[in-house]
Each structure stands twice: as C-alpha cells, then as structure tokens.
C-alpha cells in the first residue's frame, strides 16, 4: 500500500498569496504536490462555509492565505478574515478537527519561499495526523 497522501485545499487571495504561489513557481521552489489551490479575489471573501465544505468533501487540511495585515488590496478585507476565521478555528477544534489541519497565513506576493515552506510544513503535519475522518453531512444544500 502506498504511503498516505493527504489532500489539502488552499484558498488564496488573488493579489498577495496567489501571486506568492506563482512566485514559488517562477523561483522553482519545490513543494509537495498535495495542495489544490482555489483563487478568490480577497481573503475577506472566504466564508466559513467553504472551510466546512472542504472538510466535508474529504479535505485533510485547509489553508487560507491572504495579504499581510495592512497590505490588503482592498484595504481591510484581511482583517475580517482574521476575525472570522479565528472563531471558526475554535469551532473546528470543538468538533474534533485538529488545529494543525486548519491554518490561516499571511503570504505576500514576494514570499514565494514562504508559500513553499508553509505547504511543506502543513503537508508534513497533516501526513502525521493521518486522514481526517469524514464529517457527517447534516445539511447538504446542493
């Protein structure tokens, strides 16, 4: 049986973190192929629902990354992200999701190396934790 390969979903804001992920590519920083990236215009767009849905669908880890505080392309979007997701993090922990599976990071457009490092670290951690046991779908509105 092959080694367990976790699946991590990353939500990145268009202006900083997505650009940072691009920069990791341009700089050819290598990182594990376990992450799938979803682009949003601002991390402020990320609703807690997206995170819950990701875990429901089978994600073993979820990363949210936006501009550094103060750098937001839309001035203050990332402040909302921070507040909202802090609460969500606590909730997830409460329902039994290891906090190492859910990360919120600030990654700028020039931090390609940081992006690669974050993915490396997270993949390693989540690998160590093993697969996330599935959430029961209480309400699936699709």
């Amino acid at each position: 049986m092959p080694e367990y390969e976790p699946k991590i979903l990353a939500f990145l804001c268009n202006w900083c973190s997505y650009a940072g992920a691009d920069l990791a590519g341009v700089s050819r920083f290598q990182y594990p192929p376990n992450v799938r990236i979803v682009r949003v215009m601002c991390s402020g767009r990320i609703s807690p629902r997206f995170v819950l849905k990701s875990f429901q669908e089978g994600a073993d880890g979820v990363l949210i990354a936006g501009c550094h505080p103060g750098d937001c392309h839309y001035s203050k979007g990332n402040y909302y992200t921070r507040r909202r997701l802090t609460v969500l993090g606590k909730l997830l922990e409460h329902v039994g999701v290891d906090p190492r599976r859910f990360k919120v990071k600030w990654i700028s457009a020039s931090e390609g190396g940081k992006f690669a490092d974050v993915i490396k670290e997270m993949t390693e951690n989540v690998k160590g934790l093993g697969p996330q046991r599935s959430f029961k779908r209480v309400d699936d509105d699709e």
Partner: protein, 1002 residues
C-alpha cells in the same frame, strides 16, 4: 507645418520593448501606428532574456502579453523585415519611404505550423540562441514570435524547394522581391535599441579562442529554459556543470582602448542577476564578479546587490582583470588581476564577459537618412531638458538608442516619446484609427455548457513535467467538456486564432485555458474569447505551470495527477459561469497633478498639449520644486533659465489651472470620475477629474553624521551649489563625502544622483579656481551611462577620488578651528589626513513623509523604502495598480532631471489611454444584491472598504457598480446569502471545492 494638413499617424521604428510600448500607448490613445522592425519579428533583446532584475520575473512571461497585444491591436500595423529608405515632408506630415525585404513566406498564408522548418535540410547559425543550437534556413526566431510568420534566410537557403512542397498553406513564395512602400505620418519615434559589444575586440580575454569564455548574452541563453541546454548551466568545452564561474564587468564599457568610454548602465545588475539565477540552477556553484564599481543605482537595486552578497554568497572583487589564459589540459581559465596593488591569479571553470551596450549598427545610416544628429558615441543626441527630442523636429527618441538604459527606464521613455509624438498631432486624434468592431455576443443562457479546454505545453515548462496529452485525454472525459486539445504555447497568436476557430466549429460556450497564471494571462484570453463572440467572463484558467509543473519538477506522476485535478476544478467552475455585462461610465477629461516640480509641471503641460485640462497642485508658494535650488546642469543648459521658461509656459497655458500653497483635503471617486477638494490660499475648491498624477518628488536627507550643522564649513552639495553660484565662496581645498545617508542603515538604497552631482560641482570648483584641490571620498562611483564622460573629465582635471570601505567611514573633526578629515585608504590600508576649507556632503534623497497619507487616500502602495510603488517594476513603471492613478519623478525613486521629465511625459501618455476614450467600462467581477432576500441589516455596508454599498428606498442594500472593486468581503459577511460576487459565487466556489476531491456533474 501649420499650412499642410497634419496626419493622425505615428511611425515607430524598432519593435523591441520600447517600440511595443510606444505603439500600444499611441494606438490606445486614438492614433494609427506603423511599427517598423528590421528583423523578422518584434520582441527585441528582451525576448532573449531569461529573467529580469530585480524581481527575477521571467522575461518572456511578462512580455508575451504585450507581444500579443501589439500583434493584435487594430490600430497597429506591423511592418517587419523592413527598413527606412527615405524621409520627406514636414513635421506633422512626413512621407516615409520604406524598403521591405522579401520574407519569401506569405504573411497572410503562413499559419506558423513549422512543418517547413522541420523538413528543411539546412542547418544555419541561430542568432537567437547565440549559435549554441542550429536552426533551419526557413525559421522563426522564437516560439512566441509576433508575427508568427516564418522567413527564409536566403544566405543559408540552398533553394531545394522542399519547404514549398511541404507547406500545406501554400505560403512559400520564393519569388518575392524587394518592395517599396510609402507611408504618411505626423511624427516619428526612434526606438532602435542597441547592439551588443563584440567581445572579440578585447583580445586579452580570449573570447572566440577559449571555449569556456562566453558573453553574458550567451550565458543568458544557457540559463533559459528555452535555451540550448534547457536551462542547465554547462560549460562549452566539455558540457560539464561548472563549479566556479567568474563574471568580468565592463567588457566594452568604461574602456577608452576600445573606444567605449561610457558606462553601459545595465551590466552590473544583469551580471548579479545571472549569477543569482545560475546559483539557483546549479547546486554548489561558486560565482565571482570582477568589477570596477558596482552600479546598483536603481529602485531596489542596492537591496538586490546586498542579497547577492549576503544570501547568495556571490563574491565580489574590485579589479579589472588584465588577461585570461587557458590551462590547455583542463580548459579551465586563469584570470590575472591586481587586487590591493598585488598581482593575483585565480582559476575558474568558466568566465562570462559582461558585454556592454553599443549604439545600434544602423544608427549612422539612419541618422543620415533622417537628418538627425548623433552624439560622439553614435547614440541619438538629446538635451538634458529635452531627453526625448532629436535634433529634428517631429522625430523623437526613446530607450537605449538615446543612452544605455534598463527596461523600466526604457519603457517609461517609450511612453514618454509616445506623448511627445502624439502631442504634435493631437488635433488629428481618432482620424486614422479602425473603430473596434463590436462583435455580437452569442446568447448562451439557454444552452447547456459546452466547454472547450486548451492545455498548454509552455514549451517544456509544463510539457517537460506534466504529461499534457494525458491531461487532454482526461479532460475529454469530464462532463460538459465538448472539446480539448494541447498547444505548444497557448498564448501565441496562432493559438488565439485557433481558439476562436474552435469556439465556432465546436459551438463552444465556455473556454478553459490550462497554462500559466490568470494574473498575467487572463485578459489576453478573455479578449480572444470575446473576439470569438462569447462573453469574456465565460472563461476560466487552470494554473498548471506556476502552481504545478514548476513546483513539482521532479514528480511527473503527481504533477500530472494534480494538473488533472486543477483542470477538473476549472471545469466545475466553468460549467457555472455566467455572461456578465459591464456598466459603462463617462470620463471627465482632465487630470489632477499633485506636485509642482519639474515632473508635475511637465506632466501638466503634457496634458494641456494633448488638449486636456490639468489641475496642478503645489504645496509651496512657488512652482519649481527641488529644481529651484539647482544652479548647474553640468551641460550648456542653465537650470534656472530652463525652469523659468517652463514655469512661464505652464502659467500661461489656459488648459492648466494652478493651485499654490495648496493642500489636498480629499480625493474621492475612481478612474474617469474623481472628485477632489483642494485648499489653496485659504480658499476651498472642488474639482472633478479623470486621472490623478502623483509627482510629489523627494526630499534631501538632513544629515546627523559628519558634524553637519556644527560648523558652517560643513555643507551639503545643494548648499555648495548655491554658494558657488552666488560667488560667496572660492574654495581651494574641498573634501566631498559620498553616500551620506545612502546605502546605510537609515537609507538602505542608493540615491542615484549624488555621484554625478558631486562630480558636476567638483568641476565647477575647478572652473572657478583651476588650482583648487578637490577630493571625492566614495564607495562606488555610479556615473552610469554617458555620465561616465563626466567622471573621465573630472579625472583629467585632476580631481582626486579616494575610496573608503563602508566599515571605516571618513572622520570629520574640527581641531583648533581647522577642519580635519581622516580617511582610511583601503589600497594602502593607512589613514590619510586632510585639512580642507570645506567639507561637502553628498546627502541622500529621501521620500516625503507625507507620502503615507497620500498613499492611503489614493489607495496606492508604498515601497519598503517609503517611495510610491508602481504596478510593475519592469513593464509598468509609472502606473499604479489602481486604475487612473499614476506616478512620476522622484516620488517613484531618486532621479535626474531628464529622467523625471521622461517619466512625467510617460504619465501623460499612459493617462491619455484613458482620457481619449469615449467611455470606460466598470469591472465585471463585482457584488450584486438579491433584494428579495436582503433584510437590510447593513452588515455589508459596514464591511465594504470602498463605501460602494448603500440602501435603496426600500431599505435594501444596493451596490454602486462603478465603485465596487470586487473583493467579495460583503458576500462572506452577509448572513442571509443575499449578496453574491459575480464570477466567485458561493455556488461556483462550493462546486470547485467539491470537484477538488471527486468528479462532479451538473
């Protein structure tokens, strides 16, 4: 000039990055452009580069969209493989005769498929790859070439006729002859670029004899993923990976012996860049740079230099090597040089000669045909206060042809020349352009999704890792995918045509491109989709290069699987995409210019000449800014006279309204429709304008070091200039200290202008008093470009230059009423004492502390040094990311007068691409409210950073489409799900999440 009818067209000569930028600006501002290029395709030297400094952006990646935009613009007529034969007529109405050389392949018929080149039996020298990999006689220069039309190289062709037989499009035309064409234009821009110095002339370095001595441009190709070695650094003698390489600077620069006295201005930075990239490509590589002075004078350059030393451990040795010899056994190279007066030798596996910039080979011929003057180095002659004008009215110059310069300065000048060229014929705007055809949009709302997927190999960038054909096969199995194919370069012009064809042929109503990043390429593909008759928002990208093949280079299986997932996720989203209609708005055709220095005044005058109103806001009582304190220009021109005449022009122009001792109270609105309140001389004014220009300049650093302020004989360069000009002093013994503040802890960057300023003033002292002794204490002399001639003159005049190390700075004391300066001379490693009459400090240029407030009210960023930060360091030097806001002059970073003028003119050109339009279109990706669900709780209003949400008369939220920037914060905040963000709806994102783990259908 006024008698004859003017022509609303401009001829741009040279299709490099400068020519493209000029052409795009002019074409977008309502002028017809003829873009003339000698070689078979546009792109110039930048197409050959691997990366660009200081951001290490991939040159082709950032240039490709411009190449395509130039190639597809309806107002630009590309005329390649053609030269100027004759010029007649007057400024405003020139008749230019062109000599079109036969291409022998029909531009209309050639599809660029390349079968001819595959079958051609001849191998010829490949200029693009610097003879490191042969090409065929029928060829194109590089895969993304525009136009993508092959050409037969008659000198290599043996005329066997195979290509004609193989060409399915019947595009081969052996009998094409030389052709003449006459065109009529109002003005001309010369963007000829440069040629590389031929290093064979420097015999002592053995180029052409020792295989492991290569030129910097050859090395650039070795670094490139598309180059002969696929990006692996290999040395030519045995194709081994070198362990230790050396760069030798100033080969063909700063060298009287080979008649190149000037500095080529770019080599220090490109060598550092090549060394960094080489180290990244090659494990354990040792890089060493031999230099005379490191000239990292540009924005964020010093930081790059520091990182090269500290992070990348690149070695720097201050020495110009005397010679290179080869060890015939190992083919290693032994460099002989002198360091600290001691002869030394060191062995390297490979040596890169950093070749300088030569005047374009065509310069002399062309200058005679056009009647323009060249300078002593065969570059176009310009004046300090008229950096864009040649000696002939109506003919302008930009880029390296006026002096060696890097890409951002070239791009700024290109826009600037466009502003000058169009100002001449501004009355004819819009008379010769093709009105953009409005392609009727197909209504797809009632159709089920039919998705077309185009997957890019990106040469080997994707295809070398991801098994692209397999991903295509996979895409075909996904629900709603009606068509899938792979392309060598999906961004190339022929593929764009192909996408359009396929949309029609396969009746597609959604398009996905899986290639690089939407950040750079989405607009290009959206335009294509739109030309195919689909709404541009029925397009989605999958990033399988930057975020897949490049980061999983050694895991082809996983990378292929990931690429499939990314395509599946894109399909999941594409299926739910909806056509969006953009709101349009009118434009206020006027500009607000903040700052009344040379940059601001130049910009205001530029707008006025284009026929637009400018509001010029100056915080002090007087126009002129820092220029008011300059007394000497170092050339024949008198700065105060030039300034006075500029002020007069600005003040007398009825299109310019000036506010002095003014303060901006607020700026509101958005591109095309700004509203600002200005407090001027205690009166409040409200003005409306379409664009904003930041030209707030920089300040002089007030030194705390070297006892400044403690003794009247310790002064700054500006103070010296003032005292000299007013004949108040007659110094006989002067010490100048460079880098006061700059390149240190307080001001980490280089202030760019201080070396030249010091030399200028030193020469001035000598002119007053030929026997005066002037000593300049420096770290590196950074007289880049033709400013080097100044430096040479200073040396001739007996001005003494003494270098000091950063960790043993000179000491200034006052001992028994006399000034005493002590400096440790690194060569002899001993202290030298001086007792000068004056100590003159070359102080740094620092950003205005008010920048912070202005940046906040304009919502534009500052760099970490506190200057304004442009949209893109290389290709958008005067634009902000925020549309309609521009910057120029020292507010961008420290600058010389000519550079500030160039940037100011550039801003005019960039802004005219907005001001000349009939209307603007709002963003498509914005939020919309479903008022049936909205409860009117106002949460969205609280979170909106742009005050774009209001309540309507029914108490429901309402989004102002023109103010909304599309961040989506309100959507995530809405507790009822009443707001959706177009293109990023909950439904779309949730579907993408679901498809990340499994296949989903509608």
């Amino acid at each position: 000039m006024s008698e004859e009818k003017k022509v609303g067209a401009v001829l741009v000569v040279g299709g490099g990055i400068a020519g493209m930028q000029s052409s795009l600006d002019l074409a977008e501002s309502g002028f017809k452009v003829y873009l003339l290029e000698r070689s078979p395709c546009i792109g110039g030297v930048m197409a050959q580069l691997d990366k660009t400094f200081p951001t290490n952006d991939c040159a082709m990646c950032i240039m490709a969209p411009k190449l395509v935009a130039t190639g597809r613009h309806p107002n630009i007529e590309l005329i390649t493989n053609t030269e100027i034969e004759n010029l007649e007529g007057e400024p405003g109405n020139f008749k230019v005769t062109l000599a079109k050389h036969p291409r022998r392949v029909s531009a209309e018929k050639c599809t660029g498929c390349g079968v001819c080149a595959q079958e051609c039996p001849v191998e010829a020298v490949n200029e693009f790859n610097e003879d490191l990999l042969p090409r065929s006689a029928v060829h194109i220069n590089y895969p993304q070439a525009v136009p993508l039309t092959f050409i037969i190289d008659k000198t290599a062709c043996i005329g066997c006729g195979i290509c004609e037989k193989m060409c399915k499009a019947n595009a081969i035309e052996y009998d094409q002859a030389e052709e003449e064409q006459d065109i009529y234009v109002g003005s001309i821009i010369l963007a000829l670029g440069f040629d590389e110095f031929n290093p064979e002339i420097k015999k002592e370095y053995g180029y052409g004899i020792y295989p492991n001595v290569v030129s910097s441009i050859e090395f650039e190709r070795l670094l490139s993923a598309t180059g002969p070695t696929g990006g692996m650094v290999l040395r030519p003698s045995d194709y081994d990976i070198p362990k230790k390489v050396a760069f030798i600077q100033c080969v063909g620069s700063r060298d009287q012996q080979c008649d190149k006295s000037y500095c080529s201005a770019v080599c220090c930075m490109y060598s550092i860049k090549e060394a960094i990239i080489a180290k990244e490509h090659t494990e354990g590589l040792d890089c060493h740079i031999f230099y005379m002075d490191i000239r990292t004078y540009g924005k964020e350059f010093e930081d790059y230099y520091n990182r090269a030393q500290d992070e990348y451990k690149i070695g720097f040795t201050r020495s110009r090597p005397a010679s290179i010899r080869e060890d015939p056994k190992t083919r290693n190279l032994i460099i002989s040089y002198i360091e600290n007066s001691e002869p030394k030798e060191e062995e390297f596996d490979m040596v890169i000669l950093s070749v300088g910039i030569d005047a374009p080979k065509d310069a002399v011929r062309l200058s005679e045909k056009l009647g323009i003057e060249l300078n002593e180095h065969n570059f176009a002659a310009t004046k300090k206060f008229f950096p864009l004008s040649t000696s002939k009215e109506g003919i302008f110059v930009c880029g390296a042809f006026s002096s060696p310069k890097d890409i951002p300065d070239t791009v700024a000048q290109a826009s600037a020349a466009a502003s000058k060229a169009s100002a001449m014929v501004s009355t004819e705007r819009g008379t010769m352009i093709t009105k953009r055809e409005i392609i009727p949009e197909k209504d797809v709302r009632l159709e089920g999704p039919r998705i077309g997927v185009f997957i890019c190999h990106c040469g080997i960038n994707i295809g070398g890792v991801v098994r692209v054909p397999e991903v295509v096969e996979y895409a075909r199995t996904l629900p709603n995918v009606a068509y899938a194919e792979h392309n060598l370069y999906t961004c190339s012009q022929d593929t764009q045509e192909k996408i359009k064809e396929k949309v029609k042929e396969q009746n597609l109503n959604r398009v996905i491109v899986a290639s690089c990043t939407p950040r750079t390429h989405e607009p290009l593909f959206q335009a294509t989709v739109s030309e195919a008759g689909l709404n541009p928002y029925l397009f989605e990208m999958a990033n399988i290069r930057d975020q897949c093949s490049w980061v999983h280079m050694h895991e082809p299986d996983s990378a292929t699987e990931k690429a499939k997932d990314l395509v599946r996720m894109a399909v999941a989203k594409a299926r739910l995409l909806e056509p969006l209609k953009m709101a349009t708005l009118g434009i206020n055709r006027s500009a607000l210019v903040i700052g009344g220095g040379i940059s601001g005044m130049t910009a205001a005058l530029g707008f006025a000449k284009q026929g637009y109103k400018a509001y010029l806001v100056e915080k002090t009582l007087e126009l002129g800014g820092n220029l008011r304190h300059l007394r000497y220009s170092g050339t024949q021109e008198d700065p105060q006279k030039e300034l006075a005449s500029l002020i007069k022009l600005v003040e007398e122009n009825e299109n310019i309204e000036i506010f002095k001792s003014a303060e901006i109270l607020s700026i509101e609105g958005y591109v095309g429709n700004f509203k600002s309140r200005i407090l001027s001389e205690n009166m409040e004014h409200e003005i409306e304008h379409g664009v904003v220009v930041v030209a707030t300049g920089a300040l002089e650093y007030e030194p705390t070091e070297y006892m400044y302020g403690k003794d009247g004989r310790i002064i700054t360069q500006l103070e010296l200039e003032q005292l000299l000009a007013e004949d108040k002093i007659n110094p006989k013994n002067v010490i100048m200290i460079q880098c006061v503040g700059s390149r240190g802890e307080k001001v980490p960057y280089c202030s760019r202008i201080c070396c030249t300023t010091a030399i200028k003033n030193a020469l001035q002292i000598k002119e007053h008093e030929p026997d005066a002794k002037v000593y300049v204490l420096y770290r590196d002399i950074r007289t880049y470009g033709f400013r080097e001639d100044f430096y040479d003159k200073a040396l001739e005049e007996g001005i003494t230059f003494l270098r000091f190390d950063v960790d043993s700075k000179p000491k200034v004391e006052v001992a028994s009423g006399r000034l005493k300066v002590t400096v440790k001379e690194p060569l002899i490693d001993e202290n030298i004492d001086f007792n000068p009459d004056f100590v003159v400090l070359s102080v740094a240029q620092v950003p205005d502390p008010n920048n912070e407030d202005l940046s906040k009210s304009l919502k534009v960023p500052l760099s970490k040094d506190g200057f304004f930060l442009e949209a893109h360091m290389k290709l958008r030097p005067v634009d902000f990311a925020t549309e309609g806001v521009f910057l120029c002059g020292s507010a961008h970073s420290p600058k010389f007068i000519d550079e500030s003028i160039s940037q100011a003119e550039a801003v005019v050109s960039r802004a005219c691409t907005i001001l000349s339009k009939d209307y603007l279109e709002a963003e498509g990706v914005i939020s919309i409210v479903n008022s049936d669900i909205c409860s009117g709780c106002e949460t969205c209003i609280l979170v909106c950073p742009f005050d774009a949400i209001d309540k309507d008369d029914k108490g429901k939220a309402k989004v102002n489409e023109l103010l909304c920037k599309g961040c989506g914060a309100c959507v995530a905040a809405c507790r009822a799900g009443a707001i959706q963000q177009r293109c990023f709806t909950d439904e779309q994102i949730l579907s993408v999440i679901r498809s990340a783990f499994q296949e989903v259908s509608t």
